[in-house]
């Protein structure tokens, strides 16, 4: 069995961060990825709206119950993970997001909690993440005073964004250019954005931050990263005491060959469904219900951003096709609800531009067919498009588990998802939908359409917390009770904010990677009493 300093499961948005940081520090790392490695983005990616689906996770083996989960194309499936198909919106969460329960109280039926860390603790890692990604933007109304500017200036507002900004102004909503991990100018050898409109199909010129290009390739160049693709980790083994993860077993999807590898640190960087699944199927005498599942916390408190997509049609030529796709202009004033008494939290309002014709026809125009649909679609370039992400409520019984009676082709029990909307999600959605229409009307739209509620950005399932009876991981993102088993991604979030999650995932991974490096350099350090 091969030995490594660390094994990273999944080479996506967070796996790439760990691979990069750990190899840079001198650790020998094995990274195991289910998907492919697209090594030449210029030729591997195609500018077409449908190409997104080639880059995202496939849920077709999953068993799904409840009214909320529809398998939205959010999670990645290859080296680089979700950053290949993401819109590159790179926002810091609000300070109150880390103290959501203390700020807003609990809501009946929800399982709210504060994070075990504060925004202040994460700020230096946010700054580093922005530098690695090459974030563009200017100071915004919502920054804390000490927040440094991102490394690149903002991308100019597109015609449709200027119209939306007029709508925000009319309603007294403050706005600013978005914060984007897309280059407004050449940055670290990567191109400036060419405004082609196809961010979600993979950026052919790497103007958009894509983790495989920015982090995995340099990690490979150190000679200390072994990247294994087309392979799935099927089991984690612990030592006899159950307090230390020892090795992983994995299978190559093309050859069927099974292998094992051992490491001092094991870091699970796959998605909020597959991480709990892997832990739940790794049963043993010490972990009869799955690793870290003594208190039945693995997979629980699942939620997402309840989402609304809107389209407003005006008589003006907005050339809506031009752009990077999301958050050219934004208003975050609605991220704390101050207008209605029937829900807590709030929602962000972000512009959409670029090539999204199919998405508009499929979602905001979902009730229109035939010649009426064609008539609206011919006004694509007269349209303004907004998306809102709503604070989703974590609910204890919304959860990921496994069906031990049904296995996939690798013999692993299949993943089951149960997800129902919480009443707070629905009320906030109602408000978001109304607000979108108001903005469009104020911006000069004569007709507007909104989607039904849908889920974006799956989160929860491996909640961080100080108490193993109410959370799955500790404040350094380690599985409770297993001192060298780390977890990464949106699955860690006790609550999810109303801004996109990737920058925070990256920052958390940087923080935990530093922790691992410290432990690696000082193996006799008592990690349980270490103060950050």
């Amino acid at each position: 069995m091969e030995n490594f300093d660390a094994i990273v499961v999944g080479a996506g948005a967070t796996g790439a961060v760990y691979a990069h940081e750990l190899t840079k520090a001198g650790l020998n790392v094995l990274c195991i990825e289910k998907g492919r490695f697209f090594q030449n983005h210029r030729t591997d990616f195609v500018e077409n709206e449908l190409e997104t689906f080639r880059l995202v996770w496939d849920y077709s083996d999953y068993e799904i119950t409840g009214n909320a989960f529809d398998g939205g194309p959010n999670l990645g499936a290859h080296v680089g993970g979700g950053t290949l198909a993401w819109t590159a919106t790179a926002l810091r969460m609000f300070a109150h997001d880390f103290r959501f329960r203390s700020t807003f109280g609990n809501v009946r039926g929800a399982n709210l909690a504060d994070w075990p860390i504060s925004k202040k603790m994460l700020q230096p890692y946010y700054t580093l993440a922005e530098q690695q990604m090459g974030v563009s933007g200017s100071a915004t109304w919502w920054d804390e005073l000490s927040t440094p500017l991102p490394p690149n200036p903002p991308i100019p507002l597109y015609p449709a964004s200027r119209a939306i900004q007029r709508g925000f102004d009319q309603l007294g909503l403050r706005s600013s250019p978005g914060r984007l991990a897309t280059n407004s100018q050449t940055y670290q050898g990567r191109s400036a954005c060419l405004n082609c409109g196809y961010c979600r199909s993979g950026c052919r010129v790497d103007a958009k931050y894509q983790a495989d290009e920015v982090l995995i390739k340099p990690a490979l160049a150190t000679g200390r990263l072994q990247l294994v693709t087309r392979s799935v980790v099927t089991r984690i083994e612990t030592d006899r005491s159950g307090t230390e993860a020892r090795s992983v077993r994995y299978t190559n999807l093309d050859t069927g060959i099974e292998s094992s590898a051992r490491a001092r640190f094991i870091i699970l960087c796959n998605n909020p469904f597959e991480i709990p699944r892997l832990l739940l199927v790794s049963t043993s005498r010490r972990h009869p219900d799955g690793i870290g599942n003594r208190y039945d916390q693995i997979g629980r408190n699942f939620y997402s951003h309840a989402t609304c997509l809107g389209m407003g049609i005006s008589n003006d030529d907005h050339r809506t096709y031009v752009g990077h796709s999301m958050c050219n202009v934004m208003s975050l004033d609605t991220c704390v609800n101050r207008e209605r008494k029937d829900y807590i939290g709030g929602f962000s309002m972000l512009s959409l531009n670029g090539a999204g014709a199919g998405s508009l026809a499929a979602f905001p125009l979902h009730k229109i067919h035939g010649l009426d649909l064609q008539q609206r679609m011919t006004q694509y370039n007269n349209s303004m498009v907004l998306i809102t992400f709503i604070d989703g409520m974590p609910v204890y019984d919304n959860r990921i588990s496994v069906n031990r009676k049904k296995t996939d082709a690798l013999g692993m029990p299949v993943t089951t998802i149960h997800y129902d909307w919480h009443e707070n999600d629905l009320r906030a959605f109602d408000h978001a939908r109304e607000k979108i229409k108001q903005v469009f009307e104020a911006a000069g739209a004569y007709e507007s359409f909104t989607s039904e509620i849908f889920e974006s950005h799956p989160m929860g399932t491996m909640r961080m917390g100080n108490n193993p009876k109410t959370s799955a991981t500790d404040r350094f993102c380690r599985v409770h009770g297993v001192r060298n088993l780390y977890v990464a991604g949106g699955c860690l979030y006790p609550t999810g904010s109303s801004v996109n999650p990737t920058l925070t995932m990256h920052a958390l991974a940087l923080r935990s990677a530093r922790k691992i490096i410290k432990q690696w350099r000082s193996p006799f350090l008592d990690v349980s009493v270490e103060i950050e």
């Binding site: 077409n48 709206e49 010649l371 694509y380």
Partner: protein, 139 residues
Amino acid sequence: MNFTEQQYLVIKALADGVCPATDAIPPASALPVADMFANIAGSWAPDVFQATANALDVINDIALSIFGQPIQHLDQPGIATVTAIVAENTDLKPFWEPFRILIALNYYALSPVYSAIGLPGPTIDAGGLTTEGYPVQGN
């Protein structure tokens, strides 16, 4: 798993119900939209595929009961009528919602369609676009 020939014709006609021809835009039936749907549906779990096939049979029965002929023989207003009935039918919702999403996503991603509604398509190899939406090279 494959649809029967009649089921395939229902897919094609219903796709036209969502995305018919206009003076400037070709109908879904003139493009490989039905094929794309059939290919995707072919990868679904057997029970989901069978439910889809059953729904297509039901939809053809609706056309037969109202117009006395299969849906593929109806003119555009006839297809529009059947489409409207399907869209409002609660029992057909599990079929209709994914069907309509897939048809719309596939149809508007095809160059004869997105070009007709004013999208330029791929521009990277020509240097991209200015932030005002004009070709960089022609600016």
